[in-house]
Symmetry: C2
Subunit: 454 residues, 2 copies
């Protein structure tokens, strides 16, 4: 949804070159709202508007623009101004945006940046998408353990505006090895003892991650320890960056959406639903639908194989969708429960025995209950076909029980197997589990029918 409240006024101000009014617009609101009110403007218009804010504020408002708008501005607006902006952006955001800018343009921009920033960008761009290195920022408050509380507060006062977070001060040695952490809370509490050294205040049991760690693991650590930021260190424990709480919330949300898409057999989108091109979306859905379709063709083959039996007991056909759907549904439930429990850390691979046992119980419980309902349903529908009771009436209930148990067991074990193989368990999507159980369901159904009726 685009907020069009201020669009006419903004366009008029731009036309009249009403600089004071535009400046006022940039400063009056929270930068996120300022960005929101500009959503309807073209990239060029938005760029002119934020040109009226000072560098720090311009960078902040820009940070709240959508990703597409950001890359469009960087790609199309006047090079020198854009280079200035890129230099001001937080290191992690900068790398993120440049990822979607044409390589030639990135090259031109890099040439205009100071050497430090250029190296920083080139280094951060090396980390793969989804790694801790790709979401970390490199502007960190690093202090020496010999500093006193007063020194640290003064240093903080001087530098506060340059750092993405000042709520943890990381204490490092001369070669940047992480030695400890002091929270601003501790520092402020210690103001009464101004000569205390950071080395005495700091906590030395610091939770840290590696730049190549999966961003999902990072989010889990931050959530577990209730952190505002987590330091990123290399193998020698040299500090290379931090990941802050706001990036962690974004990671958690992004991963949740990706998992939801995977569980419905959609390859994760790179951008929002409405912005994904129809053909891209078609591709991300089509590959999975095609795989599932291919699996479903096997069901046709299986039913053809049993065609004599189906011709003999015509009423068997009526219950095909019923028996396969209850296997698919119970399988999807189990798969989702196991995938989410793995993601939140509620279960680990080593719990497979307990999971299996629980799912067998669930399968028996749910299967028996549905079998009873199935028996009633068959009794109501089947008599019309005047077959012989009672063994025939048991075909559907017995199949339902077996299929539901297979569903819960397979649904639980397949994600665990994927995890064991080092694959993402969420790839074992619900339709995929359901597809496997469809075929199994048909084989079980026909075998049970054969066994009970002949």
């Amino acid at each position: 949804m685009i907020n069009t409240l201020y669009l006419p006024e903004l366009r008029e101000m731009l036309e009249r070159r009403d600089d004071p009014a535009l400046r006022e617009f940039c400063t009056a609101l929270h930068p996120a709202r300022t960005a929101e009110f500009m959503e309807g403007l073209s990239a060029a218009e938005a760029w002119s508007v934020i040109g009226h804010a000072d560098a720090a504020l311009r960078e902040e408002i820009f940070g709240y623009f959508g990703h597409d708008r950001q890359s469009e501005i960087i790609e199309t607006q006047e090079l020198e101004g854009v280079a200035q902006l890129v230099a001001d952006l937080a290191p992690d955001d900068r790398v993120d945006v440049l990822d979607d800018v044409h390589p030639d343009r990135v090259h031109q921009l890099l040439e205009l940046l100071p050497a430090d920033e250029r190296h920083d960008i080139l280094r951060l761009r090396l980390y793969p998408d989804g790694s801790a290195g790709a979401v970390m920022t490199t502007e960190i408050a690093k202090l020496s353990e010999s500093l006193t509380v007063t020194d640290a507060l003064t240093e903080l006062g001087r530098q506060a505006e340059h750092f993405e977070t000042i709520y943890y001060l990381y204490v490092v040695d001369a070669t940047d090895h992480l030695r400890g952490v002091v929270s601003t809370r501790q520092l402020v509490s210690a103001m009464g003892r101004p000569e205390t050294r950071l080395g005495e205040l700091m906590e030395t049991d610091v939770v840290a991650v590696n730049p190549m760690d999966d961003q999902e693991d990072v989010a889990r650590q931050v959530a577990k320890y209730d952190l505002l930021a987590i330091p990123v260190v290399d193998r020698e424990r040299v500090m290379v960056g931090i990941i802050t709480h706001d990036d962690v919330i974004d990671v958690v949300r992004e991963e949740a959406t990706e998992d939801a898409h995977r569980s419905a057999a959609v390859a994760p989108l790179d951008t929002s639903y409405l912005k994904t091109h129809v053909l891209t979306l078609g591709w991300k859905r089509g590959i999975w639908l095609t795989i599932l379709f291919a699996a479903a063709i096997l069901t046709a083959g299986a039913l053809e194989f049993y065609s004599d039996q189906l011709a003999k007991w015509e009423w068997l056909v009526w219950f095909i969708p019923l028996v396969i759907s209850c296997g698919g549904n119970s399988g999807s439930q189990s798969a989702t429960l196991v995938v989410t429990a793995l993601a939140t850390g509620d279960i680990a691979l080593s719990d497979w025995g307990r999971v299996l046992w629980r799912e067998i119980l669930q399968g028996l419980l749910l299967g028996l209950f549905l079998a009873v309902i199935g028996y009633v349903a068959v009794s109501l529908i089947q008599p019309a076909s005047s077959e012989v009771f009672p063994s025939n009436a048991l075909v559907v209930p017995v199949t339902v029980l077996l299929v539901v148990v297979s569903g819960t067991v397979l649904g639980a074990l397949l994600p665990l197997l994927f995890q064991r193989l080092g694959l993402d368990p969420a790839l074992m999507s619900n339709p995929f589990v359901a597809g496997i159980i469809d075929i199994l369901g048909i084989v079980v159904y026909m075998s049970v029918a054969q066994w009970l009726m002949s």
Copy 2:
């Protein structure tokens, strides 16, 4: 997974009443890890161990225990000690734990608490689960706008340990109306101008939420504005609490898991997968499976209705699972895309026209592609039945196209409809969408067959 590394040592220390060693154990590590190492102990043992920490640390370690352990300790351990602990806990965590403690015990505890804490607990307990009021904390750094930077820093130094977050100072008037916010970053940056008043420093455009707001909306606001905490105000903008970043991460993770469960037709669990009682889990799955089973019985009715047709063209049966599964799968994809896009705010109800248009396109694109594959598959499987070509060979492809389009359109519109009705769109679970499309699929299939072959 339970970490058993220190269990024998801990038990030995308890037996020997080795107080210094136990004190050392409590203080040596991050409280989250201390809690982790105690997972294998009984509630009584864990309670004895943390008895060796001072009140602040005990409260912190306790905060990292699992929810079940927390309520077990409160329910079973010595009343006075527990009351002391409850008084020390953060207001939001306290209410959360007491929710699962027997009402009689809660009553006994409340009698032992100071009047302030008692009223606070009673008030917070009134907010429904999932509301902002239920996750907020009431220990907030509230300051007057006439304070200077120096006053504020001194005040902060005195109180830092009592507040859940000190990174935002909320500026209120004499009757607690929220006037503005000063970040500790701003305060620290302004240390060079110690006489500046908070009224001059503060931002007045403060994003706030209402205690009855949905926790999911709160998380969205915090993520959007990259906040560390968000104030909770009543209708008169009197400040009643704040919600901090760590609670927001928990909310986001909790909601993601709940949505995943709903999308697989499992009613959200109150606790973790392994801790949910088999019967509770069976109930949360069974109600939905039963509803879906009832819907599936309709498919049996539908097929019985078409039994003459199925007897005449026997090969039609073979493709029943195929045509209904491709509708269900494309429907699940659309439903999940729409539900996640609604949750992240990428689309709003007002976008329904664009969504519908995109899904019709997706349906045509994917449907045509699968229809072509379907044509090839039918040609390979069907000839064995020696029916007349070519119109017969078109039955499956035409059905696939129609069913996939119905799937994408219904899958997209049903969650939007639920949203419009004020219900949670995630209730429109994938199996539910698939179930509806199963029946529709059979009707479409049989109608297409009737039309093309007679």
